[in-house]
């Protein structure tokens, strides 16, 4: 009886270990399917009813609350909404360009981390550790001023550059984990056919990696959208900054921040649902 229990316990633990996904190369290898990198963002899928329900609850709650505020308390909420939404283009601009930058940096970092050359490994490793060890806000301000000292660039460009560098490190880890999730046999089969390692990466490994890491990139996109609010300290007029400027004019701090929060919440929820749909479609196509 005891024996049986311990065996069952072991099996349970084993499956747990297999299910747990980590970017730590020493941790148990994940299956070849997908990598889950949760950021606390709940991406609702059809199969997970409770998440979908809570997603709906939050989303429609936020919509209803916004509607009530606008319809029944037009003064001052209508004005606040109008002001804050003025920051929307900047927020999106920063997010989209930064995520593109981060994907590019991340691809090279990820490839560098699995490279056979030790010095390339070292550079990528140091970059990742450096970025991971410093708060995002500190990095942003630092890079912003560092870039400003040496080049004369616009605030927007500097902000995008800083965010790309910061998120590039995390993206690099995702790419690396994605590459390592591809079975070893794929690389072996490719080089056994006479392909070079770089050809094998280009035609065999990376196309499969993209599929594996796309959901994780979706998650990063959502994090990026939220973290882009940090650029408001770099005097960029994004949603948060527009709100704060409004506060300094009217001193309606609580009301304004409520609206800012609602706007971010609604965008984030819409995006997470989109990522969920994208993921489902991806799985359907094999």
């Amino acid at each position: 009886m005891d024996d049986k229990n311990t065996i069952e316990e072991k099996i349970r633990k084993e499956t747990l270990v297999r299910k747990a996904v980590s970017v730590d190369p020493n941790a148990a290898k994940a299956g070849p399917s997908t990598i889950q990198m949760t950021d606390g963002v709940l991406i609702p899928k059809k199969g997970e009813k409770h998440i979908l329900t809570s997603w709906r609850l939050t989303f429609f709650g936020a919509l209803v609350l916004s509607a009530i505020l606008i319809v029944f308390f037009p003064d001052p909420y209508r004005q606040i909404f109008r002001t804050c939404l003025r920051g929307l283009p900047v927020t999106f601009e920063v997010t989209i360009f930064s995520i593109i930058g981060a994907v590019i940096i991340g691809t090279f970092t990820g490839l560098g981390s699995v490279s056979k050359r030790r010095w390339i490994n070292m550079i990528c490793g140091v970059y990742v550790e450096l970025i991971r060890g410093i708060p995002l806000l500190v990095q942003l301000i630092f890079i912003y001023y560092a870039v400003g000292r040496f080049f004369h660039v616009e605030g927007l460009v500097a902000a995008i550059f800083s965010l790309s560098v910061c998120f590039g490190a995390y993206m690099g880890e995702i790419v690396r984990a994605g590459i390592q999730a591809i079975p070893k046999g794929q690389m072996e089969a490719a080089i056994a056919l006479g392909l070079s390692r770089s050809q094998a990466f280009r035609y065999i490994i990376l196309p499969q990696t993209v599929k594996v890491i796309l959901p994780a990139i979706g998650n990063e996109f959502i994090s990026m959208l939220k973290d882009s609010s940090l650029v408001s300290v770099l005097s960029l007029e994004d949603i948060l900054r527009c709100g704060r400027m409004y506060i300094s004019r009217t001193f309606l701090s609580l009301e304004t921040m409520l609206v800012v929060a609602l706007i971010y919440l609604i965008i984030t929820l819409v995006l997470s649902r989109l990522v969920g749909v994208l993921e489902e479609r991806l799985h359907k196509n094999g």
């Binding site: 794929q186 072996e188 089969a189 490719a190 080089i191 056994a192 056919l193 392909l195």
Partner: protein, 246 residues
């Protein structure tokens, strides 16, 4: 066609528990057009030996000559060798994101710079040869194990190799699919392909092999014609092994 000579080959692995001698001083010659089958219990170094031939594993000591070119020498262009020596894996290792046709045409197009039409023509011929003409445009995951392995063989053949290595090609297959793969391999052997195989299919070894090698604990213990090996083996370990599996 090609001649494979393995001379005094050793392969050691460093493990946390010390050094593991996977292959110890192995000597083996596969003549042009010969089919040589390596048998032995699992963990005896058969696959390692095979993988050293196209340098998927780096030998610790010794030499491997393919048509006189030393694979283990530092200046050797290993990619050139790999183009000429095809390999078929136990787990097929087809590329799941590509169709069957693209799986076969990839290497000729990227390595040999063959143009697309020519490569596809070649691929269709090869698919016909392995009996899968109608599967050109499906993805490998939609195929059975036996079909996947036949595609893998076609993929290797597309590089027009001088020799083929098979690493337990039927071990991951259901019994009813083994035959279809063995038939393709038997055809290849009959056409004079130089083949070095690791397999547990004694029927194939008896029918198609020119030479059977018995390996245990990293050492080649006995070699001979299939007739001799299966009817009157001399080494007690060989006798013991054959008694267990036949």
């Amino acid at each position: 066609m090609a001649k494979i000579e393995i001379k005094d080959l050793s392969k050691d692995y460093t493990t946390p528990n010390g050094v593991l001698h996977a292959v110890k001083h192995a000597n083996l010659t596969v003549n042009d057009g010969e089919v040589v089958v390596i048998i032995g219990p699992s963990g005896s170094g058969k696959s390692t030996l095979l993988r050293c031939v196209n340098a998927l594993e780096t030998a610790t000591a010794g030499h491997i000559l393919i048509d006189g070119i030393d694979v283990t020498a530092p200046g050797t262009d290993i990619r050139q060798i790999r183009e000429e020596v095809g390999m078929v894996f136990q787990s097929f290792n087809l590329f799941p994101h590509l169709t069957v046709l693209e799986n076969i045409t990839l290497a000729p197009m990227k390595v040999k710079k063959m143009d697309k039409a020519e490569a596809e023509e070649l691929a269709r011929q090869l698919l016909k040869r392995v009996g899968l003409s109608d599967k050109a445009d499906v993805h490998p995951t939609q195929l059975s194990g036996g079909q996947q392995q036949r595609v893998a063989i076609a993929r290797s053949l597309a590089m027009k190799p001088k020799a083929m290595l098979f690493d337990e090609p039927t071990s991951a297959l259901d019994p009813e699919m083994i035959k279809e793969v063995l038939d393709v391999m038997t055809d290849l052997a009959r056409e004079g392909m130089t083949m070095l195989l690791v397999t547990h299919e004694m029927g194939f070894a008896k029918a198609a092999a020119d030479k059977v090698i018995f390996m245990d604990n990293g050492e080649i213990l006995e070699e001979g014609t299939p007739e001799k090996m299966f009817t009157s083996p001399e080494n007690p370990r060989t006798i013991d092994f054959l008694n267990h599996i036949l």
